[in-house]
Symmetry: C2
Subunit: 513 residues, 2 copies
């Protein structure tokens, strides 16, 4: 076998099953190995940002890494924004980059660049392979690094000769398991804080937002009166009927500060101190008030669910009476606005849906409207790098072929990685995309006002407008093989959602707001 | 005024007239300054790779930098691939990135990343602004760095407070001029080499491929018998009737080596030693044979045109009799293939056209077919980072509103940055896009065979195919406000080209090969 085959064999032996790829010449041996070594599904994307965002969505839903296969520094660079989101989500990804053969680097050929400098800002682990013989072990090390808590992006740079040189057969190496790190030290002190009279909240992240962690958190809340919160932007939360309601910290720092000022204690559970998304003049970027003491039950590197369960035991929290029956808003009628769009989605989303929310300003009302829907997963824009929604939904659908995926998508960010629709069509993925077409970067209109530019001039208006010409999302979807429909009322949105969700394969609905 | 206004004022004072932008919250003060300070045209793109590629195309045609305005590390990252191409082209660009206010960096907010690490691989100059007061001077320094020979990308990172803090009025500073660096040292030695009997070639780059340099190079060739060559991928060449024919070094290293083995001397003129685009087993990446001696007349940092003129004087080269009358191939008929597509384009392209060639394997025959067309400019894919063509054509059209621009574009690379079409529609740019729709990454089929994968398996076939589903480029163009037509014969291609070129504004033709 050659090094490339050893790489794929190690990945397969480590449980990696999917490779989202946009390869070039320096990856040809790895492309060949995807056929000669069984066990890895190759999924082509037409832009690298789709590949990396799909790996993020896949990893969030499969709880294990996908591999990405990208072409040298510039190909990797096209995937950086969504690797940034994966890093912030803590999603395990094995990012493989083919490079020139080592002896060719000194020639500074046109595609040569400093790949390490590009990769480190989004990676927890970067390694340049030295020999073909070491490549299978390097791959296993990368997979172990990617999935070790706190999981993230491991980047493996494979020079040409390491892919094509021969190595001994049976050189594959499985990555070792990543045992959870216990978080016992703080349980007693947190229990004492929660047993006091001062108002407290748990800020949940990571495994704290999955069913097991949430059930334990609900017992803690029932025993102590603590309020359950999450960060504004969430990698993945399991929610709906049978699971406790969690309030998101609001987006703008003044509102976040208002909410948190109700509490004397904020206990961090699998996440870190919340901060302002952006800094504004006269603020310092913190949102936790001076009077609110911070405590950590478990860091993102530790076994969050076990820590919550131990805390619930210590507080003798019984299983809370959760609302076991689902309830949804009534199907809305009339004009489309953020409220009616969110209600329409919540009114029809199927049991077991996966909802990827990159709907930006249009998306805010959906969270509350859907809190008691049938059980579903909700994925958020973790790193603020827009263009995550369509790729992430694509990867989630690859990970969960039996579940309906809904891409709840703003138009401005949707345009970043619209090539995702083609991969959905090719793979026959059951993704329903709702484009919230308000035809502007509406958040920037808000931010202009916050920056004291309350009367934007013509250039500021132009730079925040998607009108003139209006995007025709139905045509864009058709161009990539996805059937679409445009709607202008809530009734039509409900009807088209029901139709799209009833049919297999991808669909797109342009909701004109 | 505030720092952002000082930045724009400095840029305007330095002759920078256009800002290709996709801004976010951290750029709002600079967006506001584009209205409050007159003189800079803001052009919105719907993806950062369009903004940076447009700045590259603009810079190549305007011979001065445009500004790009991008959002933090991830927004910049989306533009890296085309900044890589600009770096390889030596195009002057002022890349401005808004960052969090300095005091917010320690909070590690979601969009925080190591911008310097991302920027250095594509920049000749990177500076993080320290205070609002220094910002106007920093901008002038960046512009001077961008346009100094060898020109390239200057990256200016602007923390929030440097944009919004007040500074004294009239703080704008114009960038100093960048006088050319004489290249006199090698003229005598090169003249002696060319006066000998051994066969020699001039490898022209930079200003050596512009009319003044080419006319001098033609005199040198006429006096000495030297052959005129260029690199395979060219930033910009002025060519057609009245200018000497230049042969490109072939793409594959064996063919390049074959060509160069005819010469005992290769004189580098504003470029560097040609090397293999990719390294293959058993090669060393060099394409200049041992028996061919390398000499440098002028480096890319030096005054190439003056050096060529001095050399022509020294050799007493009279003005050669150039073919002053244009000649074109006849309009082709029949099936579409690389030959007939290239002939169709050459048969109809208008006088003064700007042709951006990212047509990949389909593009090769066009170069020879168009050599005696009426005078035109030809732009190439300089850094190998695909997705350059549509943005670069967009920027060229902004730089040259009175000239027709033709984007000669492969389908695979076209999908990388298709959002360019929307900016063309919004700005009413006279760009005719020809999509060469062979529905595969054909170069990778060739490269698979070169990698001894002559019978690609199903996954390798899938990863190199754009069929299933076929892209409908006419629908994609319609979705972004650009009228389009699909053609399947050479006659229809000629007719649609004539129609598109006769009408103002953008058009797209999908040529199904």
């Amino acid at each position: 076998m050659n090094g490339a085959e050893g790489l794929i064999a190690s990945a397969v032996a480590s449980g990696v099953e999917v490779c989202f790829a946009n390869p070039g010449t320096t990856e040809m041996q790895m492309v060949g190995a995807l056929d000669s070594v069984p066990g890895m599904r190759a999924v082509l994307t037409l832009f690298e940002g789709v590949a990396t965002g799909a790996a993020d969505g896949y990893g969030r839903m499969a709880d294990k890494p996908a591999m990405t296969l990208l072409h040298l520094g510039p190909g990797h660079a096209n995937g950086i924004a969504n690797l940034h989101n994966a890093r912030r989500a803590g999603t395990p990804v094995l990012a493989v980059i083919g490079d020139h053969p080592t002896w060719h680097l000194q020639n500074d050929a046109p595609l040569t660049s400093d790949i390490e400098s590009l990769a480190w800002p989004v990676s927890k682990w970067v390694r340049r392979v030295q020999t073909a013989k070491s490549l299978p072990g390097d791959a296993a090390d990368g997979i172990a690094a990617a999935r070790a808590l706190r999981s993230g992006v491991a980047t493996l740079i494979v020079p040409g000769e390491c892919a094509w040189d021969a190595i001994p057969d049976a050189a594959a190496r499985a990555a070792p398991p990543s045992p959870p790190v216990p978080a016992d030290a703080a349980i007693e002190s947190v229990a004492q804080i929660l047993s006091g009279d001062a108002p407290a909240a748990l800020l949940l992240g990571g495994a704290g937002l999955r069913a097991r962690g949430l059930r334990a958190a609900a017992r803690v809340a029932a025993a102590s009166g603590a309020v359950l919160l999450s960060d504004t932007f969430i990698s993945r939360v399991e929610r709906g009927a049978g699971l406790p309601e969690v309030a998101k910290i609001p987006y703008f720092p003044e509102q976040a500060n208002d909410l948190l000022s109700r509490f004397a204690h904020l206990v961090l559970v699998g996440t870190v101190e919340p901060v302002a998304f952006f800094g504004y003049p006269g603020q310092d970027g913190r949102v936790v008030p001076e009077g609110c003491a911070l405590h950590a039950l478990a860091t993102p590197d530790e076994d969050v669910a076990a820590a919550l369960e131990a805390l619930a035991e210590r507080l003798r929290g019984a299983a809370p009476v959760a609302a076991a029956s689902a309830s949804r808003p009534a199907a809305p009628q009339g004009a489309l606005d953020p409220g009616s769009v969110g209600a329409a989605l919540a009114a029809v989303q199927p049991d077991g849906a996966i909802v990827m929310d990159e709907a930006a300003t249009t998306g805010f009302p959906y969270w509350v409207a859907s809190s008691a829907c049938p059980p579903h997963d909700y994925l958020g824009l973790t790193g603020g790098a827009i263009g995550q929604g369509l790729p992430c939904a694509t990867g989630a659908a690859v990970a969960c072929p039996d579940r309906p995926v809904i891409a709840f998508q703003a138009d401005g960010s949707g345009m970043y990685t619209l090539q995702s629709l083609w991969t959905q069509a090719r793979e026959g993925l059951d993704v329903t995309t709702v484009i919230c077409a308000n035809r502007e970067y509406r958040i920037l209109r808000v931010e202009l006002a916050r920056a004291d530019i309350s009367q934007p001039g013509p250039q500021a208006q132009s730079l925040t407008s998607l009108a003139d010409p209006a995007l025709d999302w139905v045509a864009l979807a058709k161009g990539m093989g996805v059937p679409g429909a445009a709607v202008e009322t809530a009734e039509d949105l409900v009807r088209e959602l029901q139709r799209a969700l009833a049919e297999p394969g991808p669909h797109l609905i342009e909701a004109r707001i």
